[in-house]
Point group: C3
Amino acid sequence: MALRAAVRNKSALSALLSQLSPCNSHGRVCVTQRRNNSTSPKIKVDFDHSAGVAVMRLQSPPVNSMSLDFLTEFCVNLEKLEMDKSCRGLIITSSQPKVFSAGLDIMEMYGKSPESCEEFYRAVQEMWLKLYSSNMITIAAINGTCPAGGCLMSLTCDYRIMADNPRYSIGLNETQLGIVAPFWFKDTMVNTVGHRTTEMALELGLLYNSSEALKIGLVDKLVPEDQVLTTATQTMTKWLAIPDHARQITKSMMRKPTIDKLTSNREADIQNFISFITKDSIQKSLRVYVEMLKKRKG
Amino acid sequence: MALRAAVRNKSALSALLSQLSPCNSHGRVCVTQRRNNSTSPKIKVDFDHSAGVAVMRLQSPPVNSMSLDFLTEFCVNLEKLEMDKSCRGLIITSSQPKVFSAGLDIMEMYGKSPESCEEFYRAVQEMWLKLYSSNMITIAAINGTCPAGGCLMSLTCDYRIMADNPRYSIGLNETQLGIVAPFWFKDTMVNTVGHRTTEMALELGLLYNSSEALKIGLVDKLVPEDQVLTTATQTMTKWLAIPDHARQITKSMMRKPTIDKLTSNREADIQNFISFITKDSIQKSLRVYVEMLKKRKG
Amino acid sequence: MALRAAVRNKSALSALLSQLSPCNSHGRVCVTQRRNNSTSPKIKVDFDHSAGVAVMRLQSPPVNSMSLDFLTEFCVNLEKLEMDKSCRGLIITSSQPKVFSAGLDIMEMYGKSPESCEEFYRAVQEMWLKLYSSNMITIAAINGTCPAGGCLMSLTCDYRIMADNPRYSIGLNETQLGIVAPFWFKDTMVNTVGHRTTEMALELGLLYNSSEALKIGLVDKLVPEDQVLTTATQTMTKWLAIPDHARQITKSMMRKPTIDKLTSNREADIQNFISFITKDSIQKSLRVYVEMLKKRKG
């Protein structure tokens, strides 16, 4: 059924396709066992000390899938910047053409041991916890398609600027793939676009093109693709004019209840994820996708 | 004062008028003591097994007032469909011309014993609890005016399609009648249109025409009156494309906190209703209405 | 930094300027030690017994700064009207040209003892608690600029009518001044315009002109400046048509959870305010402002 849904829905399918990272020219889907062995960084950080602003570029070909390696690297970099009191602002953008991030790497959830699933999911939680509570001003410069986990990362920032391109879509489309957005994905979206829009978006796994996303408030601004980063920099200047301590206390006041919900339920949330994702029916559903995608990419 | 309010406000008055079910051609208001004796069903269910979709037609003349009989029948039918795993979607519509449902039957609250009021109110809770937590995809095909309890039933569905007719109105107008929408009516509306719109709508007992209702998000789509049901069927097809298990878990995640609020306060909510509705001042207020309506209909 | 922010931002600066009440023609900023000695009332109340509606005029020159005296007088008057069962509606407006209220009086927070700060802050809480839970219909007739505490007072009413003048602004701009809106300011704004709009507005200390304020729902209606009060009176008539008891119970249902949050955390909230406002860094920040404003006004 999930398969039929995806076949009917081009957006979901292409989003899914982009979640797989072929390791070689034959398009074989690789299981990411190269952790700790990877040499090329998946995240590139440029810190402009004079401005107090860092730009983080996602550069994990082909589609910035959020593998455990990717998330670990992201968190390490984020923590470094957070500790550096001279860094007041962070812009997150993509170095890959046409995609911001394809979201969580399905291969981290398919055919894996419960222990591996736990390690991966804990890293997803960590990314969200660190970014949603960041003391820095965080701006997502969304220069490409942005489904699922990519959308979550964007929603977790303070401000979202998206390329005005009808072919780029954004949304939490997990349901389309037969999986479910965790409650803190949901909370983050409710905090951004409200309860009703979130309810329908998550039940249907909706992906919005850039104009639709602006209309419902999923992003804050659209600009031509080649101006996404410069606009982010200009917007950052306005935010930098606000006294840090007042802005930070205010941000914490707005977000702490949502963060506390996860921190006080973190282990239960992990167990819930493991028991769901390791179900035969879910694994079977993921398998159908993976096989289909191998063929299409092969 | 409630009387003056209603006289000034045509919408409220006509909504109220439609809440009374005359039993005979002389327009006498009847007290519904025919429970368990009724022969003609108030709800007609057509289940299309091949599509997995049931259509429930409200057919309690003249205006689908939600009496205890009506609600009991509704819940029995809903439960049957819920138990039938082959039924994945439910469309609710009206067989009566110009009205979806006039809402709760005032005669169940006027001049009744506390025990009767309790039995009735418990059935209203039951309808909401079952429908708001339904595993089925639920679509309201609103082909007529839809005040008070009719609006609640619609809001409790997953999607609302309304006839594009400025003479049809929808809203929780209880305050206009001197009574108060329970907290879970309020919660359901807040979940749909947000806190501020709900606050003003409930304090003023506002009824919205179809265009206004679309604008504030009280309904999701307007179509010409003769296309309400076909559009509901088409919309259902889109929802059916989503894997059931993922959609159901997502729906539960969105709605469970609201449902838990009632289930954990159900008895207190009943006692609160009884002590309110059996007050002399409220009964007097209802009496003025009933007398006035007898005259108008007589 | 706060200084630079304010200098860059004309709105914030002018809002700040207006928060200082010079005591004499030489523009010297006065410390309000005249409490209990003040002779001219800061609040003028006209109660139309036949209509059941009172109009409260803020008349504390030059800009209706909310000093301890002002707030005490406001609460005493509000309580009197609340006790008078014949008073069903309250309209709040300003007698000062071009300004509704400049908000909390900075001089009550600068160079004061913790005891004085506590007394002042408790009065701010009291104003909000009394007004947000009022049984009367409360309408803000916003006939001038309305930053910070002025905006809070407006948001605390049931309905907001603002003069359609692009030079008048409204918003909770505390962050621009290096201070932080308390959680119940935030809750009141979230209840009015939603979570996301509030998050960005409070983090950036945004002031909206009248058109923008209408667009995001911060006010409910714009009318020409000379029609603000008459429109408020007309709007009141509509609200008066609703039975009081039903409207009051509904209002309480909508607002009680927000009010309970403060009443159950009131002392902690006071201590939190005192420890924040008496910090050297915050006092220094306030001092820079006060000195600058003395010069500009001198």
